[in-house]
Amino acid sequence: MVAELTPRGPDGTGYYSAAGIGLGHARLSIIDLEGGGQPIHNEDRTVWTVFNGEIFNYVELRRDLERRGHRFYTHSDTEVIVHLYDEYGDDFPGRMNGQFAIALWDTRRRRLLLVRDRPGILPLYFSRQDNRLLFASEVKGLLPAMSNRPELNFAALDQLMTFWAPTSPASLFSGVEEVSPAEMVIVEAGQVRRRRYWEWDFATDRDYLTGSTESLAEELSELLLDATRLRLRADVPVGAYLSGGLDSSGIAALVRHLGHPDLHTFSIGFEDPGLDEREHQVRISKYLDTRHASVLCRHGDIAAIFPQVIRRTEAPILRTAPAPMAILSALVRRHDYKVVLTGEGADEVFGGYDLFKEAKIRQFWARQPESMRRPMLLRRLYPYLDLNQRGGQAYLKRFFGQGLDQPDSPGFSHLPRWITTGKTREFLSSDLRASLPNDPVEGLIATLPESFGTWHPFNRAQYLEAKTLMAGYLLNSQGDRMLMANSVEGRFPFLDHRVIEFANRLHPRHKMRVLNEKYLLKRALAKYLPAETIARFKQPYRAPDIAAFFGSGASPPDYVTECLSVRSLHETGYFDPQRVQHLLRKIEHGRVIGFKDNMAFLAVLSTQLWHRIFIDRQDIPVGQITTSDASNSYS
């Protein structure tokens, strides 16, 4: 089991076993390189833990615990976990500022706790097998010990083809569940209980933060500095990703402001000028005086490593965007770095996505549904959509007017996206569709917290985004999995729970002023960044999708042809072979390919690959990557 997790922990392994329990650990050493091996125990060896991640406030926690009489035998952050448990019992996770997947065994009470960090940065799965419970950071760690051959969880695939990820706690593997973000799973006396220790809770009119924009921006600035300062704690060098946008530039600027010497930044570029941001990356790198390295991702590179990407994600993906992130983490590793700070989370926490603007405009429009002018605001949102440039106002109105008659419905903000994404499900085979239990949207709505309806519509949209796309896809398939593919740890100051809690108490007008996104964040970062970075039009991170496999008239790699053949599609039974063949013909004819076609193609290809890798256990050769590094020093 542990060997399967080697990329997550290449620096050593450790084991503990006793009656009724076995703990194993693969280590990526970052803090206390010599003495931090796991498992780790308390003073009298009655509490044991293995964990993946970081407890950033371990210095302060240790000081407090030592004052309370606890004795430590290492200098690692891991050790605070067992003492915190001894001191605070099941409330211990709330004391920690960090990103973690923890297994803790209490020999006295013979109970196992599985705990995951608040936003869901680190993955953690478990499976109940007769009278045993298996757990691991990735499903591939469970597979060797599972008594039954795993199968595809149809309901989870249905959710993924609606929300981009399964709805927690489901996984793509039948019989395998995840520990949900901010959750503790308690295994005791043959019972398994789930307990939530934190929630994305939002303020309402009664308890929004008060104060001037200036004072709130100052408070946020201090908070972000501290979140960044804590995330620089390591016994190895810490670098940073630099996308060229506001969020990662802001984090790199905060690092420089904290006096971190010789910051190394890393970025990725694309051949397609519509996706490439290297010019902005170099400019901000020069401004912040960082040592900068970038790697160019070519279309063929994505196709070459795609099977390996699916092996890491353990789930189908609807875009290729994770693949370049694996190429980027490989660049980091080639420079002998294993920790990077990134700007991930800012768009969810401070309201940066176009989806939030779209929802705001649709709310505004819903108040006067007959208005011809109100929906025209949508044209400001998607300047890269040719439809807007060509006019097509009647169509714009129809596409985004979905659900307009129910502006208070819980899913209002996300309905157009879910409907568009959900169209990919038309490619599912009739047998699979017939076996699906219920509508994924209804299923998600049923899990929303009671207070959801009392929140401002903007905050409801943020909640849905954090719970579906961010936790399930961005932090997982596109985040942790692509970082850990090359044994690199990502750290995310914007996802410090104090930052989230502060942002969740802000009135939405501080997040979006008219249609100016991340308003307060821009104010907070203005003193650290050039004005052009603050004012720059937000460019969503995208990578070539179908074009990565069929670009420039080239034939796709053999595995694409093989996975999408009628024979393979019949064998797995997941998709309708006739529809897939029509889609392939459309691609080969080079007809204009829209969002839906791109997502459908990737859903089918990645699910077929998933089946080959995890069900059939086949090796798919990894193609050659032709990427070239460009390292520059501006210091």
Binding site: R390, A394, R591, F595
Partner: protein, 81 residues
Amino acid sequence: MPTVDRLRRYVLESFLFTTDESALDNDDSFLDKGIIDSTGILELVTFLEQEFGIQIADEELLPENLDSIDRLVNFIHRKQS
């Protein structure tokens, strides 16, 4: 091939990914049935311009012209005459 058949084949194969003729009636609304999305309309317009040698102006991008097989047939005949 008659215009109506060319259009039907295109919509069936490119948007419904099938050759099953029963999947599409000539008066089915592309919008109401979710057959065409925001990028699909561009595909459709590109196809019409290339296949039938017509130019479609922005102000003609209306469901009244483009939202079913029947409407498309009428629109193309008007443009060609």
